[in-house]
Symmetry: D2
Subunit: 342 residues, 4 copies
């Protein structure tokens, strides 16, 4: 079967691998759709990011869906042909963090397509994949592309839970890549009274408006655009910081109300923050990283038909054209979410 | 000016009172709409409820809106003619509970239309009312009737906050009176994955479906209707118990997931509960009573246009016909929310 | 090896079982101490409780400690001879509740000494036990008896976490059996401003005072003893209800402050509660059931030397005299915690 | 009567002011003790800090206690001669933040001895003070010096509540000035399993050990002293950052467990933080600022006799020697808390 393997920066190959077989409690899946994520792009464009670097060939991909092709022993509740979204989160279940229900911090996590441990954890951009039945969420009624959006949606659901109840809250989203746009969608879905989004690109801001942002600000054009919200100690209750850019976070502090929560999703480097104002306003800065059980909630929410991620899937490209798909996904002026079709 | 005064059970009179004048930090309001609440109906039909009984004539009403008619000294931010929703919550601001931000438990609360202290706290079913400017939420863009729904909506927002984040949760609502129906509306608005409502009346259940319930169950017809949700220790994450009927609560326990939250809004009497199951499933039973700062959030949410309470206002009746309005409001087969027009 | 097996009410036998051998990730433990719990007493005295009844012989016991006797493959961090406290909590790790970090609600839980599934889950009152290394908490510096107290202490730590921060809070404990007394101890340890305990026995109340209760009330002698705390809507912030008696809970409602939390640990039957007062005061009634990762925290806390459970271990009796140990443990006038020595 | 007035940097004068008289709901207090706080020292040594600068003479002081000397109309519950701790927190009670129970963020706060608004809010280092009865906590059984410690203790209680339950948690405190030392005391009191404190001064670290720190590290001598706690993604559950120094915060990140909480009390300037690690570990950075209702809890906790702040009061100096008291308080090598006696 064919797979998409990153060897080094700008060295992406379609390679054959052995066909896997499902063991007990497992299923074989004929893969359907796979979204290209920012981390996939880092491996493709730069060979990694920060301390995380490719040291051996690695199959990319962790936003995936497919159809059940064969069912292993003991598996109940799944049937052949069924569309499933596949969670890439595979914690050990026995370390101290797993015991505490913080599986996303598992000491022995095997998240698809991660170069962090060595040997690397191979990803899911394959024609066939064997997964534990427990990783599979039934996606009846969704398209394969929507099912493959369960993963980034889970990231945002997990983040939204860090912020608590969003109903009636005023929400600011900085950075309108796929994660930021999902944050707009989720904030709207969760009953935010107002959703304001910022970015430096007209294209992504247009998408933000299309999916429900009340107001968008191009902070490249108008760096002081948020100033109107600074009166009476601030306006927003929640900031989803999805850009990873220090200026986005620090320039938002004056427009956050005392007691506001910043959920930091963007993974940038060191950031210089206005700590005196953050302390005096008792702002909570809360990191959010991946997800775990939210994956199943994400699929359930999409299946209700009330949360549509469709507009964010701007391109679907056959596996054979993977390199051009990765190039396209790297262009924030044209693409939001690019998915591969296997 | 005219007011609506309860003297005793079934003794409701339209009486004249002195025209009030606004002092500093106050406004005079020409009243527009007033919703009849369950407690108003208790005074009208029974002279009170439980230990709370009419001991002197009392103006009823606490779900009200009107137009600013005159502005007292020091008031800023309000102008003549403007529609405002008026919060009936008037805590003292200095007792131990006010200091802790639990103003709804104020030791010296003066909530409109309450027979609890003596002399009673007079209500707001009047042609004119003087209120503190701080009680007034600007309702631009709403109808007078919608503005008067801010109060019951606040009750439900407060309750929803007890339950925390509803996004992606499965919500059960027992009892589809005005409060239960607002709970359906709010759960839907806050991104619940599923909303199921129960009652014993076809009329109210029809309204529940109309405003967004996924499924309704008439528990008079099908007392075991919830049983399908009992597998795997239960199905629902949150129960808004709005009936005040013990059977509604206790019959829901088997279909609540471990760790679920029951928000108790219905005010019934003593209830016999299956405590062993509630303990073993670690269910949280959380009382919810009135509201405070949620009033302003309620108005803000309605003004976004995304939460419409309009379908619940089934009747609007002139003040002169108050008695027939109260009779109509007492009939759960015809009316959801009956409002008076002043 | 010898084990303590319940066959039916009042039919407790010392029986031989095959010596177990540790597999990979497991250890063999030579058992040292085993505390007799209320559920053990139910099996011994009545053959079960409510729907949970003995249907086949079952080894009792789940509050246990011992010394590592042999170490299976892959186990690191434990060495022969070391004293360990052994967690009886064995969730499956893959069901929906395990995924959510609610392992105490695992659909496939195998908690030692439970007659709930059939075949029953055999307990740990044995001379030797094989356990997963992940169940073992190193107990260096503790006595075997103290280590065996980790289990009931975990129950109370889990319950205390339901109540949130106890520092500066006023705490009421109803029911001074082993769990209630541990609640007194933990509330004191966690910085409660005041701890008041009630029971109907002079003996247990004397112990409550000895371990730190500020005030105790014998509610058999003085049913109205709490009345002095009812002014200004109540006095206590937290109630640990450890008696399982409805009257204990309902009579406490008037002395709880608005917004107070009741943590229900006692497992009684149906209870009739004053729901109107509970709702109007926005009281939280929170069930608490078993524990999971708290087990390791419990051992860590005892090992600091700042929390001493020693006074509660009133009797230690050789395994050979198990029947008299169970009789003694059934007498609330003489015994708090009776432990077996293996 | 005499007062202590700051005119500019290093210009502190003892000046006479008119004797005040209590109005309704107020009391006149003959002041007893007043602690010198870091902000008082900033005014004394530098004329202010950051944007907050003296623009007119201002009486300093906000950590105060005294004896009731006269009682205004309507006051109940206080009697002449009684020792009271006086809360310096005077919010308006009607702004949006007060309505939400966030009085410490009041838009119209009049906190004693603050140069932030102009005219400045005069402080409480006076021979006599008129205060609202609602600001006064009865301090029977405490010394005047202890009562004056209620204010900084409240700051730390408020901070501790941000961190949630500390029982069984591993706590790191960076910076052992009066606030850091109170954090050590409170963490110990609240049942922390371990308390580790860092500073750059042997004197303050000695005090930390004296009042209960399990381990202290002089990070001037051993910058890598915390490294031993970095295994398995970290060791500490909570960090109270009391130094206001960026390096203290950033060097602690590797030794914090995933999901840990940093409570930021120290008011430094901008800080550069390792945001990638903070996000990936889902660390919560929570600012904490002042307090409100915690003041009364602080006094109640000291009155139980279980929390002793006495060791931190290193010096008590007559009002007449105010200048030398301020100089002494500025020397971290000799003094922890210096109090004035009026």
């Amino acid at each position: 079967m064919k797979t998409i393997v990153a060897h080094a920066a700008k060295d992406l190959r379609i390679e054959a691998r052995e066909m896997p077989e499902p063991g007990p409690d497992q299923v074989l899946i004929r893969m359907a759709a796979g979204g290209i994520c920012g981390s996939d792009l880092h491996y493709y464009n730069h060979g990694g990011f920060g301390p995380i670097q490719l040291k051996e060939p690695m199959i990319l991909g962790h936003e995936v869906s497919g159809h059940v092709a064969a069912i292993g022993e003991n598996v109940t509740g799944l049937k052949e042909g069924q569309l499933v979204a596949i969670s890439p989160s595979r914690p050990c279940g026995t370390c101290e963090y797993c015991l505490e229900g913080k599986q996303n911090h598992c000491l022995n996590m095997r998240f698809y397509g991660s170069a962090m441990p060595f040997p690397h954890i191979q990803g899911a951009f394959c024609e066939y994949l064997v997964a534990d039945a427990a990783q599979c969420a039934i996606a009846d009624g969704l398209s394969a592309g929507e099912a493959a959006m369960a993963e980034p949606l889970s990231v945002v659901l997990h983040a939204a839970r860090q912020a608590g109840d969003l109903m009636g809250k005023r929400v600011l989203v900085t950075g309108c890549g796929p994660i930021g746009l999902l944050a707009v969608l989720v904030a709207r879905y969760a009953g935010a009274a107002q959703v304001v989004a910022t970015d430096i690109m007209a294209f992504t801001l247009g998408m933000a408006r299309k999916i429900g942002a009340d107001l968008t600000l191009n902070v490249a054009d108008a760096p002081d655009g948020l100033d109107e919200f600074a009166a009476d100690k601030g306006h927003f209750d929640v900031l989803f910081e999805c850009s990873g850019v220090a200026a986005a976070l620090s320039s938002a502090v004056p427009v956050l109300r005392p007691g506001a929560t910043i959920v930091q999703l963007g993974l940038g480097g060191d950031m210089t923050l206005p700590m005196q104002a953050m302390t005096a306003k008792e702002i909570t800065l809360q990191g959010s990283f991946r997800f775990h059980s939210e994956f199943f909630t994400a699929v359930e929410m999409m299946r209700t038909g009330r949360l549509s991620v469709d507009p964010l899937i701007t391109h679907t490209i056959p596996m054979a054209n993977a390199v051009s798909a990765f190039d396209l996904a790297s262009d924030r002026n044209q693409a939001i979410k690019v998915q591969l079709a296997f």
